[in-house]
Amino acid sequence: VSNGRNQDEADLSDEALLSGMSVGDEWAGLVFVRRHQGRIFGLAQRILGEASLAEDVAQEAFMRIFRHAAVYDARRGAVTTWALTITRNLAIDTLRSRRATPTDPDEPLFLDLTGSTVSPEDVAVAQDDLARVRVALDDLPADQRRALLLAAMYGRSASEIARAEVIPLGTAKSRVRLGLAKLREVLAIEEIQ
């Protein structure tokens, strides 16, 4: 960020925007919404599959973000992942309350494995990590990838995965854990003892 007046809104961090939102600045809220609506709506739509439901969820996610802007704690992690976690949880609640069928995680467009829609400016995470996890996910055995995505995106517990996939509970658990372990290995995140 350079010094001086007439700064561009792109120079404002998400944390700064949350700060503006928390004191009632609608402009900061608008910048925040425009910055994140594609990602938040996109995630909701990926999970729910239906645009009108996804919009309801995305709007409720923004309402919560606005409501909690003042108490957002940067130590919790990047604003983007905080916002996406809120969205994911709301989408899962909606799925459960409607007993709706989730989008099929095997659908080729389910996740962006080509990297075309994630730009470096888009998210405050190491792009290397994102690229590596994308490749690693693509390389996972299909049953592990599916189990991991059912858990991570749809909040499906191991027993729910076992029922849905007609496999033993232990198998469902180990698919999720093996998938996670493989991604962890690729990201070189240290194992604890």
Partner: protein, 225 residues
Amino acid sequence: VSSRATPSEQCYEIDDDLPDLALGTLSGRRRAEVLGHVGSCARCSSELQALSTISDLLLLLAPAAEPPVGFELRLADKLRAGASPPPARRLLQRIGSLAAAAAVVAVLGAGVGIWASAGHRSAPDQTAAADLASAQLQHNGSAVGQVMISAGRPAWMFVTVYDLESTGNVRCAITLADGAVDTVGVFKLSSGYGAWGTALPAGQVRSVRLVSSAGVTLASARISA
């Protein structure tokens, strides 16, 4: 408090639950129990952090998608109402009223969002740039942080400190163009890092100072006029 070097029996007991907690699939009493342990155990907290990083990355892989036309408008309505939309409006949305859709398109077509229509600032691409100022926070000539000021209504400031050899509470004082000095708040630095925002009083801010509890100026920023 457990340490990474000496996992307790309880650590081993919850190891199997940490992936579920990170993925958001652990619920009920077990979730509360595991969270309780993680809150007081550095080893398990670190493990949860590692697993959560992966879980977060997966969410980031969902492709972005353009929301339906009128998304901002409807969101602004809800935010102003401060609650869920009234049943009639919800119903209108549900049945996809052509009239409502046409109204939304008309408003957007005119290039004016609801955020602007209620007497607030226009869309950010039109006016925001003139309202934003930034300046480095300096200590002995070195950059130790950043100040961003938005002079809108309300005016506010966001301070980021990323490299100040200090810890504990710091007072934030501003000097306005008319010479008035005002303490706008106190925030906490942790190992040289802190981020904090506040609303600002009326008047153009000329400088920002961070002052220790002992009254020593730790860092300052000059805002160009």
